[in-house]
């Protein structure tokens, strides 16, 4: 057993029961595959937010409303032949509807709060007509990275745990800023665009990106824990009964 000592802080063994349930409940918590915790939870939780989420139909309606906005943006970019937006929105929409398509059930959708955060820049632009700041944009990218991670976990042979998913999201957010910088720099040189200005401006952008990545990591960690605890409590009551 002494080998377990140094292992715990590396693999986060104390969070194992949570991490086992978390990535799954992430998407299909209100799906048809896991009816027991879903039903048990419904009566227990008074929290209005939780109720909204627990009800598979309400969550699906909100999520599909967001997809409708995506479709609207896509059609608009199609009419204006804005190729970049077209590709971007189509790819995002594809990722968003994957769970519903895979389960052949429109009620199996991502949790609306995660989806809302990931689509925030697009929603704000389409509905309110403004631009988000760097911090909020990269927070959205972090949420999208989380969605991708969870879907890869569900639909491929990739298996992650709660802490690994959080780490991956933080790193991916920062890496995406670096990759986008390289793309912009080369576009400035080859295509004559003017994305990048000075090194200082870029560093300040990266600083916000790093903060957004870390903030997203803390946020998602709390979110995972919260959901895991809620689910365990609900199961616990059913078992006692």
């Amino acid at each position: 057993m002494d080998t377990d000592g140094p292992a715990t802080d590396v693999s986060g063994e104390d969070s194992e029961p949570e991490s086992k349930t978390d990535p799954d409940t992430e998407v299909d918590g209100d799906g048809p595959e896991r009816p027991e915790p879903e039903r048990a939870d419904g009566g227990v939780i008074e929290d209005r937010l939780a109720q909204l989420f627990r009800s598979g139909r309400t969550n699906a309606v909100i999520a599909w409303a967001m997809v409708a906005v995506l479709v609207g943006v896509f059609v608009e970019s199609l009419l204006g032949f804005d190729l970049r937006t077209m590709i971007l929105v189509a790819a995002i929409a594809a990722v968003v509807v994957v769970p519903a398509v895979a389960a052949r059930d429109p009620q199996v959708m991502l949790p609306w709060e995660v989806l809302g955060l990931a689509l925030l820049p697009i929603l704000v632009r389409a509905l309110l007509g403004g631009e988000l700041g760097t911090f909020a944009t990269y927070l959205a990218i972090a949420a999208f990275a989380l969605i991708l991670t969870v879907e890869l976990h569900m639909f491929t042979s990739l298996r992650v745990t709660h802490w690994f998913a959080v780490l991956l999201v933080v790193l991916t957010t920062m890496a995406s800023a670096a990759a986008w910088t390289v793309v912009r720099w080369n576009a400035d040189r080859v295509l004559g665009t003017e994305y990048l200005t000075t090194n200082e401006a870029l560093m300040i952008e990266w600083l916000y990106v790093t903060l957004a990545g870390v903030a997203a990591g803390i946020l998602f960690d709390a979110y995972f824990r919260q959901r895991g605890r809620r689910l365990r409590r609900a199961i616990g009551r059913v078992v006692r009964r």
Binding site: T173, A175, A178, N199, M203, T210
Partner: protein, 215 residues
């Protein structure tokens, strides 16, 4: 194929020690040069470099992880080339900076990949297929690049405020982005060739650091 055969024929421990020793002597020379001619940059960089060259031996002794001789040479030469660069070549040879960035990024990539494999082997719940490892190496190297450049930026601000000359500095937008791009080259090399060679190391790291999962 040539590179692979060359890598597979392990250098003897003695050869590795000789190579490391020669580089350490040169690093001591750089530090001494710094003291004699009053170059604080040469002292800090040379001293740090010298310290890092002892890390592989320390890891072997303290954690009982037998390191591949090539790995020792790899780590030592990355530090060595950087120290040489900051002493002379960065200012004179334009591509020296790119070379050291690719080499140090390859080290970060190797460390990232080894950690990933060790976690993959150690944890039953985490399973990372090799095609994801390729992406993961890039993610680690790119995000580390962001942290590194921010660190340099911070040092620049501190040295502007206090007037103390720092061992590292940024040289503008183009330099920052080129750093990132050459970091990616290092990551690409490790992601392409490294996976086969680093797998054994990951197993030893798991055994030495994390302990085996068996009783």
């Amino acid at each position: 194929m040539n590179v692979r055969t060359a890598l597979r024929t392990r250098p003897s421990l003695q050869t590795q020690r000789r190579l490391t020793r020669a580089m350490q002597i040169l690093l001591v020379g750089i530090v001494l040069y710094g003291f004699v001619y009053g170059q604080p940059k040469a002292i800090t960089n040379g001293g740090l470099g010298l310290f890092v060259t002892f890390v592989p031996a320390m890891v072997e002794r303290n954690y009982d992880i037998p390191l591949d001789p090539w790995l020792g040479v790899w780590i030592t030469s990355a530090v060595f080339l950087h120290t040489l660069g900051s002493a002379w070549f960065y200012a004179q040879i334009e591509w020296w900076d790119h070379l050291t960035h690719a080499l140090s990024a390859s080290l970060i990539a190797g460390a990232g990949y080894t950690t990933l494999r060790a976690i993959d082997l150690h944890s039953d719940e985490i399973d990372i297929p090799s095609r994801f490892a390729f992406v993961f190496i890039f993610v680690v190297v790119l995000s580390f690049g962001v942290v590194w450049e921010l660190f340099e930026f911070g040092l620049d601000i501190v040295s502007d405020e206090t007037g103390i000359s720092m061992p590292l500095a940024q040289f503008g937008l183009d330099d920052t982005v080129l750093d990132l791009m050459y970091n990616s080259v290092g990551a690409l090399i490790v992601a392409t060739f490294g996976q086969a060679h680093l797998t054994g190391l990951a197993e030893r790291v798991r055994d030495g650091l994390l302990g085996t999962t068996e009783e």
